[in-house]
Subunit: 133 residues, 4 copies
């Protein structure tokens, strides 16, 4: 846990499972996005508020390694670490672990940037501060 | 609360919101389904396990009254009451209230039945017991 | 078909199916919404454009009768009929039929209204015209 | 187009857009999965039928480069190329282009394998044949 800046507990919902009886691949991106938004909320950044202000946080690349499947009833946690990727890009390293055995389910690296209302890359100061921290 | 057999707390996730900036209409059915599955789990019935056994719980009718919209960041609770509708049908009365003001967001009535592996309506004994209780 | 103002052909996508191997109940609302938006586009109304203008089309009530399930690979069509419900409310009668046997899958009645930027009910003139037609 | 084994035309549905008014990142994985399933259907492989037979096609890694956003009303096509990645792994190279300007929206590489009912990697002969082709 010491490796992560933020950690969120979630639980599989049955509508997230597909005909194979496991969580559908696309749903993991929902989990990851929700965790990122909760994380930046803790940094003082609200995604909806940013959107209203014309500051658009965008994902430019996602890498997802599917290790094991989550199933109906599974509880899990998502660890997230933020790291600077370049002057205008930042990376979220996000790992999903199943409870109670801490089995690794998915490893992801999600690279983002943020655009101001002129469409130019511009990091909010709260993200700059978190990257500097 | 005394009117409900079961109550679940949830929170809006940003990916559930559409371009109007509010939770999309279809997503409320996800919330309601998840709540029903958590409720029947408390009755000793696991939806995934039932599916594997060939017992199919089906929704035959849903009525949803949309009163107000949920938005990004909203926390809410879903109250659920189970009631017999006919010999082989049961109804879930499900209401969604926003925290902290308990504003009513949605009222729903979801009628279901269950089919055995021959496709015949047959209620699991746990549901019969809950309806009798 | 003569009963419908609009008809749309769609096809089940596997990610729309849940662990029971059939289209999840909530997904039908996606199908219905998409059909309504395509229908009003034909009336000269673009949902996204309306949203940008501050005109909010809202669903106030949905009734869905689930008759049969759609499965992986199924093709189907959705017939939609628009009818005035009251001075400020309109109803979409929407039925889903499976190809090629025209088996009835779902019957729905979706009641909507539209709100102007002051939050007051106000029907766009294109909908008034369609209701008058 | 000559670079792709398969091509599918789709269109943005409004419920796929999030509060930023663009298609949500996770939805692209739905588009890609649907395209892969349509592609393998053309190879004589039905995903649902394979699942019933206990043959599980799994994604082990996905890389997605988000170039531009799709919006409400956009039509687009997905080109897919299949290539052997290792003895038991295959890769789908999948690119999304917007109509009518053929603007590149997303580039993806999705690596999969297939497991037999004993959980061992085993490629269906139709995929072997396509990889050999």
């Amino acid at each position: 846990m010491s490796d992560y800046n933020f950690r969120l507990d979630l639980e599989v919902r049955d509508y997230e499972c597909d005909m194979q009886g496991v969580v559908n691949n696309a749903v993991y991106q929902n989990y990851l996005e929700h965790t990122r938004h909760e994380f930046i909320k803790q940094l003082g950044l609200d995604f909806a508020e940013l959107t209203r202000q014309g500051i658009i946080l965008v994902v430019v690349r996602a890498e997802l390694d599917y290790k094991k499947s989550l199933q109906s009833g599974d509880r899990f946690w998502i660890g997230t670490r933020l790291q600077r990727e370049s002057r205008i890009r930042f990376a979220f390293y996000q790992d999903i672990y199943r409870y109670p055995d801490n089995e690794l389910i998915l490893q992801a690296k999600v690279i983002g940037t943020s655009l101001n209302d002129k469409g130019r890359p511009k990091l909010p100061k709260q993200i700059e501060a978190a990257l500097a921290g």
